[in-house]
Symmetry: C2
Amino acid sequence: MARRPRRTIGSLDARSGAILRTVIDEYVSSATPVSSSSLVEHYPLGVSSATVRNILSDLEGLGLLMHPHTSAGRVPTDAGYRYYVQVLADEWSLPQVEQRMIRHQFGQVELASDHWFRLAASTLASNTGTAGLATTAKPEAARVRRVDLVTVQDRLALMVVVFREGTMKQTLQNLPLDADQEQLNRVAALLNVLAVDRTADEIERALADLPMGEESNDDLDLLQLTGVGLVRTMREFDAALIDDIFSDGLLNVMAAPEFDRTEKIRQVFAALENRTYLGSLVESVAREGSVQVFIGHENRSADMQDVSLVLAPYGRIGRAVGAVGVLGPTRMSYAQAIASVEFVSDLMSELVEHLYA
Amino acid sequence: MARRPRRTIGSLDARSGAILRTVIDEYVSSATPVSSSSLVEHYPLGVSSATVRNILSDLEGLGLLMHPHTSAGRVPTDAGYRYYVQVLADEWSLPQVEQRMIRHQFGQVELASDHWFRLAASTLASNTGTAGLATTAKPEAARVRRVDLVTVQDRLALMVVVFREGTMKQTLQNLPLDADQEQLNRVAALLNVLAVDRTADEIERALADLPMGEESNDDLDLLQLTGVGLVRTMREFDAALIDDIFSDGLLNVMAAPEFDRTEKIRQVFAALENRTYLGSLVESVAREGSVQVFIGHENRSADMQDVSLVLAPYGRIGRAVGAVGVLGPTRMSYAQAIASVEFVSDLMSELVEHLYA
DNA sequence: GTTAGCACTCGGATAGTGAGAGTGCTAACC
DNA sequence: GGTTAGCACTCTCACTATCCGAGTGCTAAC
């Protein structure tokens, strides 16, 4: 769960806010501390550098900016970014041109499901210059759309399950007796009657209601067995916080000057492997129902103190939800990131709605 | 294609060989240039440091060792590693204990196919302290084991193909007319009759032989349509050099001192994304039929000048083949790597043989 | 062929210096 | 009271000098 955004700062007067914003914009693009003189030089502020210095000093007092050392310019703190995001969040949306480009790309993609996730991740990556992330859509309790059994060997079958949201799972299933494809087809037909549109719990109940063992019937035995296997597979799927996660553009993040030491990048990778933490973020974002930003040490995970995440859910609450987002250095363009993530999440929602309504 | 190993050096006399080997072992474990005095101190060579210096100087003359600067010890060159690997390659095999441990792990894994690849990669990673790699097994021309059609919407179906080697592919298929699951089942049954155990080419021919358009028959139309979709999916699969690749332990590689600058690690990642080059290596290894080592600048890829790969094929030639291996700094324990990769590739071959014979 | 001895080279650590950047403060100004 | 010019102060960075130690390569003796 993300810490609630800090609103401790009240709101700044217009000029201070504008200067904070300018400092952040400047720092985001230059990656070097911003000095008072460079501000008056490059932006039409209408005041002298001395005045700017006073304001910068105030902002530092409020914890929004900091000083690497005496004779250096100012650098935003995580709280500074937080203020920036909080106050200015609503203003941003993606330019029409970019919207059209992205829509076009999504129109081009082949209709094979996991392509979307890859595309979402790579679109976000290229659009923001950071790493793009996309998780597959996962319902709280999966429902079966279709089950199929395929012979592999005499006593071994492959069970292929398609869930209502398009995800597929496969498991190998040991059989107690030789079974040919013919027989498996019969069993699969029964299993589908039993399982289609149902959750693991419902299937388990249906299995319990089956007439059992009255007379030894191979098909029924196999049905029972594969049914149990199906329920186990579904339980596993339901239990996972994130089913699968796609990322792209990690090379972008590596190129950022703050990650010039491998040790820093190591943390990013370690963080991405921490499904538990990412899962909790996705959950939080899904609950919130809108884009959320997790800045630097707002992250609970020790590995994420130097990075920020911008995440948005897609899909429909109660049905399947997933998340898309970006991961980058705290010094990232939050405007661009939020706008892009929001747009792509809307697009993904449309897709899911359209395909698996 | 890998450059052929260089045999320009003839073979060294016993003592020089032993010293080369010792230098490499020492350097691999210490990561710092090896001096003549440290050699006589830590190893029972029976000669003085001056003598060792003479030998080292000879080895440097042969291009097997090098000198970062005057007052530093010796460091192996890629040619040095090559000699080491070439001459000593046959001696290594994995200790019984490790063999049993790995076997045990593979016994534990659940019977869901992609788990093996992950397991192979992670086993190699943890066993060698480098990054482990495993590609899925791919035949030259895939054959269908089973096709299934699942309704998604009125005019949209999901086609699930299981290939003989266990791989699965899914595609969405637009339909020209409304079709319910009932109808799709009928079509899928026909499609299976047509496609099972066949390659893309064979299926295409069978499709051409179908009685066409005599009378408008919905099922036949759908069969034709999905058949074409199936062939396209298979062609795509056949065309890819590598279907899928799993890696683990990249964090291990990041921890190596030679990769302390992110720029170096960037190269490693870029290299892993270069499927073309990796594909050519897998192909070469499959053709060779045994473990191969690609050291530093023996790699054609510019991004791989600082890393070495140890790869071995698994599966059966003519049927499906894949590769497993490790990727690490040129300063890696080739003995351990080769022994581990060979063992795991044998294990994977057994698995494939056992399951998809 | 081996070894002791030694001059030589070079990298890395340490310290000192100066220039430049940017601040914080003060005092004057509107 | 807010704004500004001016200036002292601080700290980093780049450059240089110096020294130490490591390790070699060579020579001459064994």
